[in-house]
Symmetry: C2
Subunit: 546 residues, 2 copies
């Protein structure tokens, strides 16, 4: 079975499938892969990025800084005016759309093989733009992103080939048979723009990028100015495959901008741009969603909840949650923010653990992880944006109680790293305005509720009104479990139940988890469900006398 | 194979499938079916419609008039305030959404059997509200509509059951295997509203209505005040099945309004309404599409083109086109409006038929049909809205030449029928403002172009800018044919080539033709492609330790 057939089967089976191994060991990727990738990354510092095949820009731009060094990376990228990017894409459209879907999918799968050969460069580039620890940088920006891209290619190929291309339609008219020859074409919508974010520069960009490409749309990738290099390498690998196949590199362009000449709005508002994928803050996301005549896919902000009701072992729960909130210092869109705990406490086996003890256990687990020098750097990483650190350090939630102060930790490799371990604040359930907005970064709120019923009600309300991408629940009561599933499903929020050990609420698996449901304000799209690819093309039918 | 399995298979095969026979003969529907249906319709005149099981309204409303009699039907329907309808729907939501998709689909298929038993009542009700001739009234509002409804049920059932409901996800972690039990639910979005039109009260309403219902959403059907009875009968049949199954009739309500108390905007803007299907004029359609936070499916207006390039037999083409423009007096959304003819004429075999001769042949064919008393009543029917007749009779297109004046014809059965046969005007290609808007009703424009290249360019431009639902093309040149397919596909417009004899550009078949592509301003949806059902629910996943 080919890679693409396997990927389509995986989409349908929803069982584990990883086309790209997540283990960066030499056994898997070769003895020199890490060293070579690192060397390529180091050689790129302070230099112009010249791997793109899309022609000369009107100038150069680049402002990335390493959160580990708090110093500029010094990489410069060719700058193209938005009109130039769109005109290039339009000129490349015809050749790309006229390829058959299977041919496009095969070329894009080849590009992922090229990306695989760059997983280590991408990992170091991700570390030094996002602040992720090395392991997450490797896994999220490399194999997991490539799996997500493959998933989008597979879904797009399947939807375009799901119905017969031709059919003979015969209707018995009594005295004669009416026969029509019918054909259908999956017609791509036009120029696509993908606007990336600063924290997951490839993982959040490749689904929309490859979904638009496989359905025949030329793509302009507009990365966040703070995290360009990881996705620039991916675009370069796509362009290599395109040019080798005799196609234009303008089918997939990189459109870099900088704070002094932002291009996202100009791109999105260009009448020739028909499809927009966006990951980032709610304000720009809602602006993109409001643009008339565009097909828009967004992943915005959300307020993710944990519901603590009952469990067999509270220590395991605290350890699991401590890891979830500490992973990448809470800078994941799936990171929990609000932990709802009943005032009477949490039922643990036959005992009721009082509320204060629950908070103490959580705080101890979070602090223990942050103070463990062997674990902290690998879990917490660094803070991408200085503004995030300033906000967390200056956070003042009226009426709250500080259960754990934000704390920097010393990174063993990078003395100048911008670090911060999660702070924990206790809030009363009545103070909903304190916990109903996203507090991006390492901040955890414990909300004392009347009971689990109120916890569920509040979590569902927040998800409906402010969005949510994940929810974790701990309960040993099947009735409460079903109630949580029902209420949170109506709020469009997936729920992970009773996670302990090595699996965390933040993690979403390709080919198995729909990431973001599209069913609440956290986003209007879901990767990779059929809608994510179907809306990128139009079925048009033709009929003639047979 | 069950009816639903057969319907799903038909969707995928795209070959002819008619679950409901379109032939109203006694052999098919029984010797007394016609007489009984007619008797039920006659008995309903001047009476309150009491078949609904949705409770007592706040009053009664009804303003339908027969285009054949130009007199009120006198049927009164219970009137419910929009807030009441929405509150009823919300209260009915839980029981309906908690049924399994297969159960909902089976109940809805049963309701179509109930509808089948009413095809003749529906036919007479359609005649005397829309002005369609009897045969079209029977076929379009009865079997063809039921096929479209079945198609929506089948597509909705398939999309909800396409992926496994549960999966065990196992990941080898080296020392141990991580196992998660995963489940997914297709979660309906909430209250749905379907706003109907005056010309096709069931055919255009049932796809959205049954698509929302099969995906678990309670539906409020808001018919056009001028064409209520046909869809009221369908809603009553759905309610019968619901109540017989112990369910609430409020799962599918009829929300009738009248010109002095319109409710469509109040319904659409109600925050609990999540899904809107709309058929009708562009202004209201664009308003509905602009409502934030709603899932909206529209079919609006369009400007449909015919491209005349070359053919083997121009008389057959003229006959075919005359029928297409005369069918239901041009009041179909798929009816051709603009016929593009090169100034040099049309190539017919080895001869070039001059432009003027082409116009003359078309005018003669249209006039011949209108003046044939055995054919005209059955093809042209009557004009639904007096405003349509007034507009056609008063049409003054600056710079145009009248090739055929609008003409009433005497209906043999209904002396007072509001009739009008198509008028034909000639326009120059440069006068684009004269032919770039929809002239709803029996109006045909012949546009003299420089050549077929200009014809194609104009037809595609009109479709892109103003929308189009159909296109007919006559060419014997394969290069031109491919060019038409390519240009019109980019304009999101299906094309029928070289139709002569008993098949017409206006006709769209269930299970085979996507009606409206969603790819141009004529509408944002297509019945019934997967998107038409997928967007009515959200996939939400749940995970727990296995």
């Amino acid at each position: 079975m080919s890679l693409l057939d396997t990927a389509i089967a995986a989409l349908h089976a929803r069982t584990f499938y990883a086309a790209f191994p997540e283990n960066p060991s030499p056994d898997v990727y070769g003895a020199d892969a890490d060293a070579q990738g690192r060397a390529r990354f180091e050689a790129q510092r302070g230099q112009r990025f010249t791997e793109l095949l899309q022609g000369d820009g009107a100038g150069w731009a680049g402002q990335e800084e390493s959160p580990y060094e708090q110093a500029p990376l010094g990489v410069q990228y060719p700058y193209f005016a938005p009109d130039t990017l769109v005109a290039n894409a339009q000129a490349a459209f015809d050749a790309w759309r006229k390829l058959r879907p299977a041919r496009r999918a095969a070329l894009l799968a080849d590009a992922l093989e090229g990306m695989k050969s760059r997983f280590f460069d991408i990992a170091y580039a991700t570390m030094h733009t996002t602040g992720q620890a090395f392991m997450m940088s490797f896994q999220a920006s490399g194999p997991h992103a490539a799996d997500r891209a493959l998933e989008a290619i597979a879904a797009g190929l399947e939807e375009q080939t799901r119905f017969p291309e031709t059919a003979t339609w015969e209707k018995n008219m009594g005295k004669y048979t009416l026969a029509l020859h019918k054909t259908w074409r999956a017609v791509p919508k036009g120029v696509a723009v993908v606007v990336g974010c600063s924290t997951f520069p490839t993982w959040n960009t490749v689904p929309g990028m490859f979904a638009s490409l496989v359905t025949g749309n030329p793509v302009i990738v507009k990365p966040h100015p703070g995290a360009v290099l990881p996705i620039a390498i991916v675009v370069a690998e796509v362009q290599k495959v395109l040019v080798a196949a005799g196609l234009s590199a303008h089918i997939c362009q990189l459109g870099v901008d900088a704070d002094d000449r932002l291009i996202a709005k100009d791109l999105c508002e260009n009448p020739a741009v028909k499809i927009i994928d966006y990951t980032g803050g709610a304000a720009f996301g809602e602006y993109v969603e409001s643009l008339p005549g565009k097909t828009v896919f967004t992943e915005k902000t959300g307020v993710n909840s944990i519901l603590l009701d009952s469990c067999p072992d509270l220590d395991k729960v605290a350890q699991n949650l401590a890891f979830s909130v500490s992973l990448y210092s809470g800078q994941m869109c799936t990171a929990p923010q609000n932990i709802f705990v009943p005032a009477a406490g949490v039922q643990v086996g036959d005992a009721l653990v009082p509320y204060d003890d629950v908070v103490q256990k959580l705080a101890a687990a979070v602090q223990g992880l942050a103070q463990n020098p062997k674990a902290a750097p690998h879990v917490l990483g660094a803070i991408q944006n200085p503004a995030t650190l300033a906000r967390v350090q200056g956070l003042a939630l009226a009426g709250s109680r500080e259960a754990l102060a934000p704390a920097t930790y010393a990174h063993p490799q990078f003395a100048n790293a911008r670090t911060c371990a999660p702070a924990i604040y206790e809030v009363e359930a009545a103070q909903i305005e304190q916990f109903s907005q996203e507090l991006f970064g390492p901040v955890l709120l414990v909300i004392k509720t009347e009971n689990t019923q109120q916890s569920i009600r509040l979590a569902a309300q927040l998800a409906r009104e402010h969005g949510a991408i994940s929810c974790g629940a701990y309960t040993t009561d099947d009735t409460i479990k079903e109630q949580i599933m029902d209420e949170m499903s109506l709020a469009g929020t997936p729920v992970s139940f009773n996670l302990v050990g090595g699996i965390y609420v933040n993690q979403n698996a390709g080919f198995s988890d729909f990431h973001v449901t599209g069913g609440n304000p956290a986003g209007n799209a879901s990767i990779t469900n059929p809608e994510f690819v179907i809306k990128r093309f139009t079925w048009v039918g033709f009929r003639e006398m047979a």
